[in-house]
């Protein structure tokens, strides 16, 4: 009976918090390919805790985010801490190209070979600059505004905007009709 109550409680919390936590993990993770793992580890931790003790409803969300934060730190303890979020400027590599890209390209104008959007998403996830898949996720899946995305990722709006448009341009070139998608 207790285990059923705990499962019911877990399900309730999972449904209520999933979208918020997912957004948090996507924003905070270093690589979007780790998002599923971090989410699962976080909720698994909550599962274990709910089976040991009762948590007040008012505390569960903040508790969950604390767990997620620690899971992210632990997940990236080597990379993040050793890098020590240094004085390097992560936007430096993109600045040169920003002004050369027209900002009027629209995702709905792109024609992808065989309509294979799965391969497009895989391409986005593999980008060295992980802001790209994050921004695409936040912009096209959660439908946040440029301003909201910029605030969430702590980057400038122009950076966000131009990253979207430049990537769409690259997608058209790589996977669009006439593009070489075998690169």
């Amino acid at each position: 009976m207790t285990s059923q109550i705990n499962l019911s409680k877990f399900n309730e919390v999972y449904d209520k918090t999933y979208n918020h936590l997912l957004k948090y993990v996507i924003v905070k993770c270093h690589n979007i390919n780790d998002a599923n793992d971090i989410l699962q580890e976080t909720y698994l931790e909550l599962w274990n805790i709910l089976h040991k003790k009762t948590l007040m409803d008012t505390n569960i969300k903040s508790y969950l985010f604390s767990i997620a934060n620690n899971k992210i730190k632990k997940h990236y303890s080597l990379i993040q801490r050793l890098k020590t979020i240094s004085l390097f400027d992560k936007n430096t590599d993109d600045i040169e190209l920003i002004d050369t890209i027209a900002d009027k390209i629209n995702i709905n104008d792109i024609i992808i070979n065989n309509d294979n959007w799965k391969i497009v998403w895989e391409y986005l996830k593999k980008q060295k600059n992980q802001d790209i898949p994050k921004i695409f996720y936040l912009y096209y899946t959660l439908e946040l505004t440029i301003k909201e995305i910029s605030q969430a990722l702590n980057v400038s709006e122009s950076y966000t905007k131009h990253l979207i448009y430049r990537t769409l341009h690259n997608l058209q070139r790589k996977y669009g009709n006439g593009g070489n998608s075998h690169d």
């Binding site: 999933y18 599962w47 274990n48 801490r81 890098k83 497009v120 998403w121």
Partner: protein, 225 residues
């Protein structure tokens, strides 16, 4: 269906709520089954091992010295270093440059001293400052920090109250070092060390720049008493 909807569908298939739920439940029930084995098989093995040790000891000569009698009372620890390949950019500065962290200086906030005794600080370094780091959004304390040294050569000690619920040192792929019975994880990247351990009810994370391995060992041995 528009391209935007197509992309959204693909993304939601990849980062999927139901799939994640199924994975969590599977992991949770697997852990439960594993625990049943742990609660039965492992204690049984331990009991057998314990009895065997007692029986063996009863057959030893009475003047047989214990191994510890032949070594110095304080054994020099050997640091097991986890060498990390180059990740991305070079290392500069300290964790205080995290984007979501604010710094509060010492004279405004009480900072608990986490060490039980003195600390062996490498030559030419001294305690430069102590401060508290806060998360920007809600002013929750992230870490207390003590810095020794300067921008070029330093030891940065960050610590917070230990939380046994979700601070887990166990990782089968990482080598650990035992210093005075405390389990420590040490990582090296270029001329920097990063150290993690729990001591005196605090979780510690230590960054060093341009400190030798010997200096690091002396520092850790002086802390972990």
């Amino acid at each position: 269906m528009t391209n935007k909807e197509k992309l959204k569908r693909v993304i939601n298939q990849d980062i999927n709520k139901d799939n994640n739920y199924d994975a969590i439940v599977k992991l949770a029930t697997k852990n439960k089954r594993t625990k049943y084995w742990q609660y039965t098989l492992i204690p049984t093995c331990l009991i057998i091992a314990f009895i065997s040790v007692i029986l063996l000891n009863n057959h030893k000569m009475s003047n047989n010295k214990m191994p510890q009698d032949n070594v110095n009372s304080i054994e020099e620890p050997i640091l097991n270093i986890n060498n990390i390949d180059m990740m991305t950019s070079s290392i500069e500065g300290g964790f205080k440059n995290y984007d979501d962290i604010d710094i509060e200086k010492k004279d405004n906030v009480y900072i608990p001293y986490p060490f039980m005794g003195g600390v062996s600080i490498p030559e030419n370094l001294k305690e430069s400052k102590s401060y508290v780091a806060y998360y920007k959004d809600d002013k929750a304390i992230s870490n207390y920090v003590i810095e020794y040294g300067n921008e070029y050569r330093n030891i940065i000690v960050s610590y917070q109250k230990a939380n046994p619920d979700y601070y887990d040192l166990t990782d089968t792929d990482i080598k650990t070092t035992i210093i005075n019975d405390y389990e420590v994880e040490i990582f090296k990247l270029s001329s920097n060390y990063f150290v993690i351990f729990t001591y005196n009810d605090y979780d510690f994370k230590i960054n060093t720049s341009n400190i030798t391995e010997e200096e690091l060992k002396e520092f850790l041995v002086s802390i972990l008493i």
